[in-house]
Amino acid sequence: MFGYYLDLALRSLKRNKALTVLMILAIAVGVGASMTTLTVLHVLSGDPVPGRSAHLYYPQLDPRPMQGYQPGETQPMRQVTWIDGMNLLHAGRADRQALMTGGRVAVQPENATLDAFYSDARYTTSGFFPMFGVPFRYGHPWSASDDESHARVVVISAELNNKLFGGRDSTGQTLRLSGRSMRIVGVLRDWRPNPHFYDLTRGSYNEHEGVFVPLSTSQDLNFDHMGGMSCWGNAGGGLHPSHTSTCVWLQFWVQLNSPAKVAAYKSFLVHYSEQQKALGRFERPPNVRLRNVMQWLDYNMVVPGDVRLQTWLSFGFLLVCLVNTVGLMLAKFMRRAGELGVRRALGASRRALFAQLLMESGVLGLAGGFGGLLLTFFGLWLVRRQPDGYAALAHLDPTMLLVTFVLAIGASLLAGVLPASRACRVTPALQLKGN
């Protein structure tokens, strides 16, 4: 039966080529537009550290003065001060933890053919690499004792290693950074979490550091700080924030492997705030948050509003295309009332006619899906040509490929239901008489 209906559908579609092409185009354009925007949305709201994100938490504290505090409403700071960061790090209450901040360093290649250039850097403690599951191509991360001894070591990205050493194993080599000699201990594989969840002050997408330096060493060597900084009182920012100033400029991440540990860590943060208040460092009552990666991204609204707006827009567009297809299919099916009447008179049930007509819309949907897929590839190519930071990430993955076809066939079947049910209601006698 399936094969027969398919044959009938193809015959019918071939009979009126212009209308068929029009319907396929309408579906393809609607699906293409929706899938392009949906893919961008999907990529941008994706999980930057799959498999780990549920266990990674971002503790927030509120060390500001009483002035301006509204109980229950005021959100704690989005970063931590040097003192609080160090205290939390040394308390070591989580399964893993790392204190970090952004910066930039001048890379001065030995190779005389390359000019010195600036690279984005991450100054962090050693917990960063195992906690975020950072993959290494050569070498290994630095150790906790390197953190303590302010070792002059550096881990570089695959990209920087390609640029400076042509992709060879460069561990053990010396790299001059902002006038200082550092020893390369590790080279990463390609690792670019998107969004750049661990430090959103540097931009949310397509940010990646070329150089990773121990936080303690970066402070010794006076490396430049880059990234958001919020101060209160009379403190001010700069490239070299003071460790005692009332400014937040560091990010502190922890890994907590079980819900019990999360609860325990939260009460530790409350306890810590109370203790700091008793010491006179904090003024506000404990005001803490402990968000995991996805909650943190949500709270910071990293997905650009324009992208959401475009998604709404394209689904509105798809709706118009569908209404259009319903109208055209209705026209087409009604026109064949005569043929359908004959089939009814020869004994085909309504159900059989319905199935036959739905098959036709399914074939249209499949063709529209292929067209839509091509248009999606074209749409994503257009998106990638845009200058936004996130644009380069717009690629179709297998899930979205599947969604494209499900959307196209589902939409056209849906569009086929009404016309098909109308058309198979023909009264055979009337049609035969008319003919």
Binding site: L309, V323, L330, Q386
Partner: protein, 408 residues
């Protein structure tokens, strides 16, 4: 024109008529909002900066390692840059409009106030007003003796605590802080430090609009002198025609003075501005594309349905022709029919447009859709409808009366 027969025909083809109306309504609703969004983006791209944009170029420079003699080096840099032919003004400033990187501060009108009044951006740099070409509308620019070293003040805030330093603010900030009054001589507070307004500029945009466009003009300028260690942006003012030459010459000059430094960026302010609004431009382009695609799809839909109708009514048309209807009667009939359907669709579409706008207002902080955007969608759809129906209607008018006499 006879509406009676049209309405009775439509009543017999409810579903097809309904689909056409629905399509027109949806298209109309989306187009009204899309046109409004485009105009919003265009408006945003015209946002005034208050600086002489076409005359400014910027070089961002970074040194390798800390500079012990930053102050002397800064003076040497500035002197060398001033000597470049065509350069009218030079300044080393802490931040530049449209660069998305800024230093901001909460301010209070009374030091004891619980919550800050607002958050404004702070510009530092000697000769900043003159170099930017910001237009003073009240008071005066800073006197040379008012400038202090940024480093010295940061090291020891007591230097300014009892001196009440001067500040220049924008007219919009002045109006916001002291509505209807002159801002000159008034005081602002940063924590416990007071500053006095000595001048008001017409406009000076903040470098990043993280607080929304309404706060775009909340800017302050302080008489603080920067050096190469705490500021990286040289701004040069020149004739628009000389910009590229001056940029190149400035880069060469700066590298000659210190071959180890790295020029991170060298651009004209026009380029920087264009970059800043690129998302708006891209969005406006996308919306325009959607409008065109929507109108095309709708037009094709109308062509398809009208063709179907014409084919279905061939006999009726033949009968009408045989009974004495002229070709133009038939043509007019289909045109009127489309007009009626479009009008119903447009009426529903306008309500829908208003609904979509309410949704957007809630989720995307968009203003209310002004009424005059509604006719835009209406006219577009009437036109598209008439254009689309013309072909099938002409075909209908060519149906010969003899059709009426044939049985099939």
């Amino acid at each position: 024109m006879e509406f009676g027969p049209i309405l009775s025909t439509l009543r017999r083809h409810k579903i097809t008529a309904f689909l056409l109306v629905a399509e027109i309504a949806l298209t109309c609703a989306i187009i009204c909002n899309a046109v409004f969004l485009i105009s919003q983006r265009m408006e945003r791209m015209k946002m005034p900066s208050g600086v002489a944009e076409h005359q400014l170029v910027m070089l961002q420079v970074a040194n390798i390692g800390k500079q012990p003699d930053a102050k002397a080096r800064t003076e040497a840099d500035l002197a060398a840059l001033r000597r470049i032919p065509g350069v009218k003004q030079v300044a080393l400033v802490s931040q530049v409009p449209f660069t998305n990187s800024s230093s901001n501060s909460s301010i209070r009108l009374d030091p004891k106030q619980k919550l800050p009044t607002l958050n404004a951006t702070q510009y530092f740099g000697q000769d900043l007003i003159k170099t930017f070409g910001a237009q003073l509308v009240a008071g005066r620019d800073f006197r040379p003796d008012e400038y202090m070293d940024y480093d010295a003040v940061m090291r020891n805030v007591d230097l300014v605590r009892n001196r009440t330093p001067s500040v220049i603010i924008t007219s919009e900030l002045a109006e916001r802080l002291w509505p209807g009054e002159s801002a000159l001589g008034k005081r602002l507070y940063f924590a416990d430090i007071g500053v006095r307004v000595i001048g008001v500029v017409k406009s000076l945009i903040r470098p990043s609009l993280f607080l929304g466009d309404d706060a775009a003009q909340w800017s302050m300028v302080f008489p603080l002198r920067m050096n190469t260690d705490n500021a990286s942006r040289y701004v040069l003012r020149t004739d628009p025609r000389d910009r590229q030459r001056v940029l190149a010459a400035a880069a060469t000059t700066l590298r000659k003075l210190d071959p180890h430094r790295i020029i991170l960026k060298k651009r004209t302010l026009d380029e920087i501005r264009s970059d800043f609004f690129r998302n708006d431009r891209a969005m406006a382009g996308t919306l325009l594309g959607v409008i065109i695609a929507l109108l095309t799809v709708t037009a094709l839909g109308i062509v398809g349905l009208a063709s179907f109708w014409v084919a279905q009514r061939r006999r009726t048309i033949g009968v009408r022709r045989a009974l004495g209807a002229t070709r133009s009667n038939i043509l007019r009939y289909f045109q009127t029919e489309n007009f009626v359907l479009a009008t119903i669709g447009i009426a529903i579409g306008m309500m829908l447009a208003w609904g979509i706008n309410l949704f957007l207002m809630q989720h995307y902080e968009l203003p209310r859709l002004p009424w005059f955007y509604l006719p835009v969608g209406a006219v577009a759809l009437w036109l598209i409808g008439q254009l689309a129906v013309l072909g099938p209607a002409l075909r209908a008018s060519n149906v010969p009366p003899v059709v009426a006499t044939r049985s099939v």
